[in-house]
Structure formats: C-alpha cells, structure tokens
Symmetry: C2
DNA sequence: CATTCTCTTTAGAATGATTATAATCTGTTG
DNA sequence: CAACAGATTATAATCATTCTAAAGAGAATG
C-alpha cells in the first residue's frame, strides 16, 4: 500500500467519498446518504450543467434512490453554500453548474447545451455604475448560438 | 392645425394608432383590436419590460378586454417579428422588452426590476469563437445587483 | 448503545406560469 | 355581403418547481 493513498481509500474499498464528504463538512451540511450520493455524481464527474430532472435520472441510473424533492432541496442547498451555481439561460428550465469559478457561457439554443467560457480571458469595458444604493452581485455573459445548416 | 401633425392625429380624434398600426402592417400581422390595443400599451409608453401578467393588468386597467391567452400569443408573435425581445433573467417569469436595439441589462434581484444598458457603450474582448458549426445569435450581458442595506 | 433532539427525506398535493384545445368570432378579399 | 383564413377566448392541460406534514436518520448525550 502506497502511503500516498487518500485516507478515504484506505478506510474502505469505496471510491473517494472523502472529497465530497469534506466539501459537505466544510459547508456545514450534514453528510447524509442522499447528499453524498448527489455530491459524488455532481463533483466527481468534471464540470457539468445539470437540471434537477437530469440529476434525478443520473441518481436512479446509479442505483441511488433519492426523491425528486430531495434533488431540488439539495441543488438549492448546494447553491446556497456555493458548491453550485445557478445558470439562468432558459425560462423553462433551471440549470445548475458545478463550475463555481468566474466564468460565462455559450448556450446552444437548439439543444439547450451549455459550455463554459473562462472568465479570466474576458474583458468588459464601458459598464456603467450600478444604480445608486445597489451593489453588483454578478455579471453574467451568455452567448447564444445556433447551428447553421 | 399645424401641418406637422401626424397623419393619424388628423384622421380622427384618437391617439396615434397609426404608429402601432404601421408596425403591425410592416410586420405582416393583421391589425386586430387586441393587437392594436396591446401594441399601443407597449410601444407608446417608452421603453419598458413587461411580463404577460402585467400587460394583461395594464390592458384591463385601460378598459381593454383581452384574454390572458391572447396576451401570451401576442407577446410571442411580436417577439417573432422583432417588435419585442425576450429577456431571460429570472427562471420564474418571462420578461419582454420593448427596446429591441443592441443593449444589455441591470437586473435588480430584490424586486425583479430591469434597466437597460446601451449596447454601444460596451466593449467585450477576449470572447472565444462560437463552437464549430454554430453562429452567434446574440450576446446577453446581465448585471445582477441588490440593494445594500 | 439507548435516548432524544433536530435536521432530512419523502410521497403526494399544491402552485403558478405557460401552452394546448376546440369553439366562436372577425378581418379581409373577391 | 359571402366565405374563408386567421384570431380570440374560456377552459383544460402541462410541467417544472415548491409546499406539507409525516416518517426517518445523523449526532450528541448519558
């Protein structure tokens, strides 16, 4: 056994729960079976953009039994503690983004797919001041594209 | 009577229907009583951001009887012919903007109000190319603000 | 490790915006 | 002014999301 192995991997034979577990702990969220399962699906699969419905399906597909209500609750709680970010691009669905760093999006209007655009590479100039008495909570740039056939 | 008066104002005693009438004609939309009334409310009151519900109320308030279904239909038809623009900032409501020129928005997260930002004054650099096979249909910038108490 | 307390989960009902349906009405054209 | 295509409307239907209140499960304690 290599000493470099994660603690989590040494404790039992399962995959690294620890990363997600630690995130939940740090965020002050009680690591329940459901939150761990959803967290693993979300955070251990690279950056992704999910809807509640899709995450629910993913969970079912992975053999995890979680109610849709819990999926909604969890997505919102994760968003509240900054583990997820809500992306508003379509008035009929809410997307949640596992990438919470500064970035923007391409939105494919034909199929609803989202792609990240690194925020560090973008520069916006000429923005007016926020209205008196208000502070900017976020600047969102959405580039809507459609396939040209 | 001044020769500079609008044709519309000379034809009868009513307010300038003509402007809205012309817009409908140009767009190829049959100028029905309902579309004229909604068009007047929308286009003759300066730039505004409305929801279907609000426009419906405005119509009632103005003594115009229009069903909510027609308000929805009309808003979408107007959007299709570029008399309106849909603004996606809130996943629970759809806003329609009477300003269809190049511009962006402040979105007040506390009360849902929108304010236009002239697009000519803004410069965005560093945007990556649109994904292969796609063309950009629009770039939307939303600055989310909240009042700081 | 049993108790207890609080936080979670959940099935199912409720909500609310939006869309579909199908009958009725109204511009427009000949 | 007849007749048809397009428009309006009341109403039902959808669909994502939220609410409810009841049952379940972590965590701290003795």
């Amino acid at each position: 056994m290599d000493a470099k192995l994660d603690n989590a991997e040494m404790e039992n034979g399962t995959r690294p729960y620890s990363q997600t577990l630690a995130r939940l702990r740090d965020a002050g969220l009680r690591p329940t079976r459901q939150r761990l399962a959803l967290g693993r699906l979300l955070f251990e699969g690279g950056d992704q953009h999910v809807t509640a419905e899709r995450l629910h399906e993913q969970a079912q597909g992975a053999g995890v039994s979680v109610s849709l209500a819990t999926v909604y609750n969890t997505l919102h709680q994760f968003t509240d503690v900054n583990l997820l970010r809500e992306v508003v691009v379509d008035s009929s669905r809410t997307y949640f983004d596992t990438n919470v760093s500064d970035h923007h999006h391409f939105f494919h209007e034909d199929d609803g797919r989202l792609m990240d655009i690194d925020g560090a590479k973008i520069e916006v100039s000429g923005l007016p001041e926020a209205p008196a008495g208000t502070g900017v909570s976020r600047v969102d740039i959405v580039i809507r594209v459609r396939s040209r056939d």
